[in-house]
């Protein structure tokens, strides 16, 4: 197991060493995304600056919300599951504008 995935006590160690950890990039690389040119979700970083929970950061299953050093949010729309978690847990009206990607684009699940 790689050093990154298998730090004892991190919750990723494996009984008997059989379950290999997987990096988040490798995890996301198993998913097909047909990326469109339009950002279907936008985040208003100015609104986020006054947010105390930053709930989106840990809850987004695709890990697309990155807190910035100025207290805002950097958001990338490309590898999004279109699940809706972010706008539901967001605690500031107007921080997130949420739509679907254009027809045929976005995530494509093959084993959903």
């Amino acid at each position: 197991m790689s050093a990154a995935g298998g730090v004892p006590g991190s919750g990723h160690e494996v009984p008997g060493g059989t379950w290999r950890g997987i990096s988040f990039e490798d995890r996301m690389s198993t998913v097909e995304f047909r990326v469109g040119e339009r950002a279907h979700i936008t985040v208003d970083s100015d609104v986020c600056r006054s947010c105390t929970t930053k709930a989106c950061v840990t809850a987004c299953p695709a890990n697309l919300f990155a807190p910035t050093s100025e207290g805002g949010i950097l958001f990338n729309y490309e590898e999004c599951f279109e699940c809706g978690t972010c706008y539901m847990v967001c605690n500031h009206e107007g921080a997130i504008t949420w739509t679907y990607p254009d027809g045929g684009l976005g995530v494509v699940f093959h084993h959903g």
Binding site: E32, G103, G104, V108, H110
Partner: protein
């Protein structure tokens, strides 16, 4: 069959296939699903360029593919965009044997089949293909098509634009180091394009609905994939590729550097601070001259020890 239309004809020759087939980890069996068939980025780009050029020329687009019926959905989308579509029926690749036969089939024979199927539509001014398909991936078909059509070829392009003459397109191709070359390609021509830079347009809803219920015209493969290599009847003289050994240059043994300081030994070994030979610029020269220059380079650096014999390596310049 769709009506034969006036104006220059631009052909998009595309491969429609499962874009993310599954591979059984143990057996290596490839599983392809009919509904996830689609256009790979190079093929989508080929289709988009076809429409752009046909528009500029006030011409029309013919889309042709050799595929099983699962390709019809993609062809209907192309029809909704205004193209004439045509499918050469080939065996369903749902069985692995059929697929292996397809892979083993002769691309030259395939090119012959495509040219024959296009014949009733007239002579294409331009044929655009993807530079490689996601499953077969050789990228050789466009060259064979050019040969069959007696057309010029320009392969692996990043852009095709029209000029004020209909007998010429301007194409761009990537070179090393971020450079691009610009080619003036006389028509009729076969071009293959990279899957970058353009997006395939979307059809209107009205056209999509209208195209849905239509039948896709189908021609049966004369000969068909699976025809053995090099038996294309009546074709021009062919290049015969005999059995050969892969080229494996000998390893050069680098002696261990002397000295006690590991840092210096490492520097000597990697040549990190040593000045390099500047790149040699040969050309512009013709194909035979370039081949000679390459061989001379290999001999100079010890990868080949003898002069090549005879005239074997010399080839005709292409059209």
């Amino acid at each position: 069959m769709d009506d034969i239309r006036p104006g220059p004809m631009v052909v998009a020759c595309i491969r429609i296939t499962d874009l993310r087939p599954q591979i059984e980890p143990l057996s290596g069996t490839v599983v392809r699903e009919p509904w996830s068939t689609g256009l790979s980025p190079p093929d989508a780009a080929a289709l988009e360029y076809s429409f752009r050029i046909a528009e500029a020329w006030s011409g029309h687009v013919v889309v042709i593919t050799a595929a099983p019926p699962s390709a019809d959905a993609v062809l209907r989308d192309a029809r909704a965009l205004g193209a004439t579509v045509l499918r050469i029926a080939v065996g369903s690749p749902s069985s692995d044997q059929a697929y292996m036969d397809d892979l083993g089939s002769d691309e030259r024979a395939m090119a012959g089949m495509i040219v024959a199927a296009l014949a009733p539509f007239g002579r294409p001014s331009l044929v655009v293909c993807g530079d490689r398909s996601s499953d077969r991936g050789t990228g050789a078909l466009p060259a064979f098509l050019a040969h069959e059509l007696g057309a010029a070829q320009a392969l692996g392009l990043v852009a095709i634009t029209t000029t004020d003459q209909e007998s010429m397109v301007v194409a761009e191709r990537r070179l090393d180091g971020g450079w691009r070359e610009r080619l003036h390609v006389p028509c009729p021509a076969v071009c293959s394009v990279e899957g970058a830079g353009v997006r395939l347009r979307r059809a209107s809803l009205t056209a999509t609905l209208a195209a849905q219920r239509t039948e896709i015209p189908q021609v049966t493969a004369a000969g068909g994939p699976g025809t053995t290599r090099g038996t294309h009847p009546g074709g021009p003289a062919e290049v015969v590729v005999g059995p050969g050994r892969p080229f494996r240059p000998r390893t050069r043994v680098v002696p261990a550097p002397d000295g006690d300081d590991p840092r210096l030994r490492l520097l000597a070994l990697t040549g990190a601070l040593v000045a390099h030979d500047p790149p040699t610029v040969v050309g512009p020269i013709d194909a035979a001259g370039a081949a000679d220059a390459l061989l001379a380079f290999l001999i100079r650096h010890g990868y080949l020890d003898t002069e090549p014999v005879g005239e074997e390596a010399a080839t005709e310049g292409t059209r």
